[in-house]
């Protein structure tokens, strides 16, 4: 499981790097097109906005896996063994709730947008299912990571060590 997640994270890193290139180049193209040639590229700016959405949802699972989603951490590292595992399970159970709702509803909205052929308003007219769809995928990955973490904590309860 650990290896699968590592693999997904590596793919996410490459996609993310590509998206950063897209964001930077689109915005620069819009700026220079407008300033140098009086030829603004609204579609390029729109593409940058969508790339940001994809970037956030592609990286969010990795951020969670690497404990990079920020919290207060006042209790963290103060406990060992069963107490630590209990807190870990509670935290991840809380995370699981919004991740699941995001996944279900983004999936529903992606399906609806696909069904009706909805597009974003503007020059680019991006199919909305491509946007909601990726949000859904990112959320499913969050669910996977959370599930794995809970499972690892449960294993810790039984005294096993899963590399955590």
């Amino acid at each position: 499981m650990h290896n699968i997640i590592q693999g997904i994270n590596r793919v996410a890193d490459y996609l993310n790097a590509a998206l950063f290139a897209v964001i930077t180049i689109s915005v620069l193209a819009a700026v220079f097109g407008r300033y140098l040639f009086r030829y603004p590229l609204p579609a390029a700016m729109e593409l940058a906005y969508f790339a940001m959405l994809w970037c956030a949802f592609i990286k969010t699972g990795q951020a969670l896996y690497e404990d990079r989603h920020i919290g207060m951490e006042l209790l963290k590292n103060r406990f060992r063994g069963a107490a630590d595992a209990t807190i870990g399970i509670v935290i991840n159970a809380v995370i699981l709730v919004p991740s699941t709702y995001l996944g279900i509803f983004a999936g529903k909205m992606a399906w609806e947008a696909w069904d009706f052929g909805w597009k974003t308003s503007g020059e680019l007219a991006m199919p909305k299912c491509a946007l909601y769809g990726l949000m859904a995928l990112g959320s499913y990955y969050l669910i996977l990571v959370t599930g794995y973490k809970i499972w690892s904590y449960l294993a810790a309860f039984r005294g096993k060590n899963h590399g955590r």
Partner: protein, 434 residues
Amino acid sequence: MDASIYPSLILSGFLLVLLLLGVPIAFALCFLGIAACFLWISSGAIIQIVQTFYDTCTSDILLCLPLFLFMAEVVVVAGIGKDLFNSVKIWTGRVRGGVAAATVIGCGMFAAVSGSSTATIAAVGVIALMEMLRLGYKKSFASGTVGVSGTLGVMIPPSIIMILYGALADESIGKLFVAGVVPGILMTLGFVIVTLIQGYLRPASAPISTESLTFAQKVRLSRSVVPFVLIFLVMFFAFYTGIATPTEVAAMGVLASVIIGLAMGRLNLAKLFEATKRAGLTTAFVLFIIAGAKFFTFTVSATGVSDLITHGITGLGLGPTALVLVMMALYLVMGCFIDPAGMLTLTIPFFLPALVAAKVDLIWFGVLATLLSEIGYCTPPFGFNLFVLKGVAPSDVSMSHIVKGVMPFLIVDLVLLILLILFPGLVLWLPSKM
């Protein structure tokens, strides 16, 4: 007390509990929003979470966030930030707290091209924090300085908080910007003074350099500051000549730092890849916090609390000064639990009629509201800057370091608030010359 205040109190209470437990802030906010939908709104309203994330992550004004983060990471991996701070140390290293004071001034300068607190922290803060720690500054002092300096981004024009306020209150954004100049400068000075006092009182937290260099040596060593200054000038020039908007300026910053990094032979594909990796992680969690905060604010709003609070306040029959004081006190409390933009959206439409009736100057009030937003960015448990900083800081910098470090600076904010209330001229003099 009216029963419809209870949902907000309960939500705030549970937010505190979840945060203390260590639940990541973005998910704590979403979880409570969902719970609020079930309890007080309707389970059908939960789907709003998707729309809120969609709109936040495709938001036009937030686009500067990934770009500024990317720029900062490039500056760090290319060693440009290190050069900059080595030079700063040469000039200010003999004064305790001197590098911290220079950081405050640097953020103040950067605030003149960046409209947001988060972007300022993302761009300057990341670099400054790393380098101050490298120079031996104590964690709480270094992170406190950076966290609070970021808020200069919204007081010194341009400012997205002022734009938001101007749009909500139908006030001149140009005048608001001009009105922020004097308070912004005063605030920068105040922060500088705090860093120097801290350096004096706690010498151990702010090391001084023992090297003694001649003026000529100093100048020669300072040449390494040129790359960073060039990047800054590109952004400054692009904004003030109208080539780029504040959002787009961030992309110019990326372009400049990549070109300069490559020209210096300090960047390659692997390093750029590393920079996108780190910037991407931060982008993801910051956008998730903003979206979570918006969803949480939506549920708070749907419980009808705004109406209640505003009726409560306007029903007191207060004079203008007392009215403003009560509103500021409310903002101080609200700022602890919701994000400043949400706080203004939630209250300004309801406050306006009362403010107009009491003949309160709306430009002055706007600057006060901006100041309270700045404080809100830094107050726990929900302090946006605290989280961003925690996210970009090395892992041994803890949240309590950051919170402890920020506190002395908040005193400056409060003193300034009192000054601005006592002497409205500090705010209104400059715009009156327009």
